[in-house]
Amino acid sequence: MNKKVKQAIAFAIFRLLGFLVVGVLFCILGFIVYNGAGVISWEFLTAAPEEGMSAGGIFPAIVGTLCLVVGSIAFAFPVGVMSGIYIHEYLGNRWIVRVIRVMTNNLGGIPSIVFGLFGMALFVNAFGFGDSILAGSCTLGLLILPLIIRTTEEALKAIPDSYRAGSYALGAGKLQTIFRVTLPVAMPNIITGLILSVGRVSGETAPILFTVAAYFLPRLPSGIFDQVMALPYHLYVIATSGTDIEASRPMAYGTALVLVIIVLAMNLLATATRLHLGKKTKQD
């Protein structure tokens, strides 16, 4: 009896905690959605900021973030996938794999501001890129590299060895097996990782502070050596240091909501991709 009561109390507490924590997290989302929903309009999404960023829209920031996403993925995706292939298909299970894996995990654990410092020292100053899309993309690319490598590795690990054996038995070489058999089967999971890293890149602020982000730049970039505005930095700026913080609050809520929507959309898309592509490969 006594231990039953104890159990009932303990479980009640855990249930309560569970709902409380999830409730708090939902409150945050709900708050952003509630305050931001009224701000978002066609004009907000397609106009440049005006009147000390208290009116107008966030179009340049959206374009800037898009540029950074494309740039960083263009760098990190091929390198990350090749790295994953090398680790899983070529190194197998040697000690070096453990070293590489520890390094990859560590790179993933480095604070984003340190990436910002590094990007500034290497890309902006040493390579002479200046504050530019190129420098920002390289910095963000490094940041998401561990995520892509890890998902590639996991995806390759999930493929049964019989696939590879079957391919070899038909006379295919190692490279052919990778490109014709393993990679296509692993692709849905790899794409999922890619989509998630798009969400990550669009929300990072610290790495772009000193490598690309512009405080206010209404015109659109014309090349990879231009500075751009970016959504997360824009939110930071209008939330903390605008000319009239109170007047620009609605803009801040709108920007925050756009960021949240991007992350939500990327997560949904990732799930959908996994389900859809997964089904397709099974049917083939």
């Binding site: 159990q7 905690l17 090749m82 610290a206 925050a256």
Partner: protein
Amino acid sequence: MKGSRRVIKYIAEGLFTLSGGITSFAILLIVIFLFKEGAGLFSSPTVERGYALCVHASNPTRVLDAREIKRAFDGEASAWQEIGTGEMTGEIALLRLEDLDALYPGEMDEAGEAARRRVEEAIGDRPGVIAFLPEEYLPESEEVARRLETGNVTGVEFFAGGEWQPTVAPAARLGVLPLLLGTVWVGFFAIILALVPGLGVAIYLSELAGARARAWLKPTIELLAGIPSVVYGFFGLVVLVPFIQGMFDLPVGESALAGSVVLAIMALPTIITIAEDAMRGTPRALREASLALGATHWQTIYRVVIPHSSSGITAAAVLGIGRAVGETMAVLMVTGNAAVIPHSLFEPVRTIPATIAAELGEAPVGGTHYQALFLLGCILFAITMAINLSAEFIAARGQKGGGA
């Protein structure tokens, strides 16, 4: 045909190999570049580059350190007995370029022979002077005015210094202690706040929740880990900060407490996910053995499941700390950023990442301040690296030994 295929094979495999080492290479580069930019700090002068401190030639004082210079220029020390070696006595007279401008209007606009003569004149008139001037205004001879040796920034000053005032003239104060303690302070309370609810939710998810509740709770929590930190910071700024200010009746709501709460919320998903994975890894046989002995579900959880997954839970806590220590934007937005050694939760504090983010934009590239910020980056890198490696070590030990 066969030859070209072999070339393609070599190229592709070469690329794979190169990519395989990229993360190790990147970490190496990060270390090299952070230290390269930061290491110059200990060979850069205490006094702002291009400027010098001068005293009257009759003044026996040769050397002043950064703290003494600051006390003199802040007016905390008004007599020479209070600073330096004590050989010099009398009032301290401060002399800056502005003062000279007021004395000789129009004559100090550009550095030249005339301006230098005026400097000499002004210093000659004041035996107790300390002049802080750009180098090009210094008289060439040392008959009247002598340049003070101010030395370089020292390791002791940096690592044990209690004041962070990187932009004060003439000598910036670059003591890292307030920032380091601020980071630890905020991170420590964040983890205290996050650990109990986080583990509670992990237990709920892994042991109690039905399949359906789990199926939508787990992805939701993982999704919340993906919300950008600047959004959490914004939420903290508009909701939490005014709330804390009102509730505890504080002059400003931006405080260590606000930072800790925001960080705790942000660390929750990390802690929950990792701890839950560890608990679910408990072998079924262990649970069933416990239940078969007559233990209740709850007894099984805290006598079997939790001890078995203790290393995973520890790893979750450690990684949560890592996340809290390195977090930049949210902390920058809600802690108020006062670089003082923290005494309570209700005062503004400043963390290392927030300092870098707030100040690097204004620090001239290659200057003392810039180098100091890169050294802060090195410290942060070392701390998080240590945290990550120990989390990895703890988790690996758990897997090998099968837990406690």
